[in-house]
Subunit: 122 residues, 4 copies
Amino acid sequence: MLLRLDMASRTPIYMQIRNQVMLGIASGELAAGERLPAIRALAEQCGVNMMTVSKAYGLLREEGYITADRRGGTVVAGSPGAGALSEKYAAALRIIAAEARLAGMDEEEFAALCREAYKGGA
Amino acid sequence: MLLRLDMASRTPIYMQIRNQVMLGIASGELAAGERLPAIRALAEQCGVNMMTVSKAYGLLREEGYITADRRGGTVVAGSPGAGALSEKYAAALRIIAAEARLAGMDEEEFAALCREAYKGGA
Amino acid sequence: MLLRLDMASRTPIYMQIRNQVMLGIASGELAAGERLPAIRALAEQCGVNMMTVSKAYGLLREEGYITADRRGGTVVAGSPGAGALSEKYAAALRIIAAEARLAGMDEEEFAALCREAYKGGA
Amino acid sequence: MLLRLDMASRTPIYMQIRNQVMLGIASGELAAGERLPAIRALAEQCGVNMMTVSKAYGLLREEGYITADRRGGTVVAGSPGAGALSEKYAAALRIIAAEARLAGMDEEEFAALCREAYKGGA
DNA sequence: GTGGTCTAGACCACA
DNA sequence: GTGGTCTAGACCACG
């Protein structure tokens, strides 16, 4: 699990870390029960502040994607699976769909693109 | 065209305005050539500062969704249509797809949701 | 002499008119002594306000490119030829040269581009 | 890096700042990777509002001349170099060339002036 | 510390 | 009338 952080991006670093860990879990690269690197280790490896990594882990914990294990480490949680997308992501999807429509894509092209994005995380 | 702004949201107000205007254009509620409300008028209507609306309009202009006619007013541009989603939105789509996968949705459910989002803007 | 005005441009319309008349004179398309269209006629032809055309003509008159003739018309003046570029244009040229340098052009390429621009107005 | 701003100029202050920073990068006075003054610091130094400097930095960022490092500060970007002048600057060059022609300069004189402008930023 | 966002006024250029 | 620019403050998110 190697993180690629873009310091020039508008997306906050902690969010980039959170996103990439989440993507790693979704793709199966990070299996349920697998242990994540310690905060200090990951911070050093990425050249960022420990607080930044801590914030990302905290977010992932709140979302239920990871949990603290008994010995003080952090492990990937078994996915609970709410069965539906949260309203936050649904709203983002509507915006992306509108952008696609304005870019000239028809419904079939957009659906294919979405399937591709879904499979890409496999 | 009525805008609904959430002052408590993490999304900046100017971006909320930009998104809703863009959604309005995509849905056809705002037709090409149609005139948008004047910056001051929209600012007053939304209870927001002029500069905030100005920033949203500036963004939309840069993106090519609207054009400022020098003879006064801002009008909806005819969409040229790049034909593809920008990498920025493609990356966001990958994240949403991963969230959907972790929420327990299978590919078919996700594709249906995406089609719904696309048609929703019709 | 047909003017092509872009209402969506950031360049004011009166300046677009001024620039195109000046370019017409430089290229020889408008010869010294030739009569320019009346303000009202040009305004109607371009679909702009008379005041706008008047402002452009006023500018060109101040710069010495055109003069009022005895019968109330406007004619192209014989070029006086200061022999040097005004500081305003020299400054603009420095900025363009810097942009070219940052775009990766070397001195030869830039000089060739400048000669092309000079000859283009022939 | 000292900026000289002309408050009486028709050129907006934010554009003057943008131009001078760009000229500084082109001349090598500001090297790639070098850190620019903080927005607030530059604003105070120039006796200008923060937002004005912010707008200039935003422009330079969009143009790819600088990048905002999330770990604090704004740095000069390594120039990618499109290899050609944008149409906007090419049009401005045509206008300047025409002005030079009307000022009585011949092609050689103009080319020499352009080389001078190019080398001036060295 | 940094940049990002926002407010409530103001003046100006353009058409 | 329109949009563009600017000021002098303020609060917030990020690292």
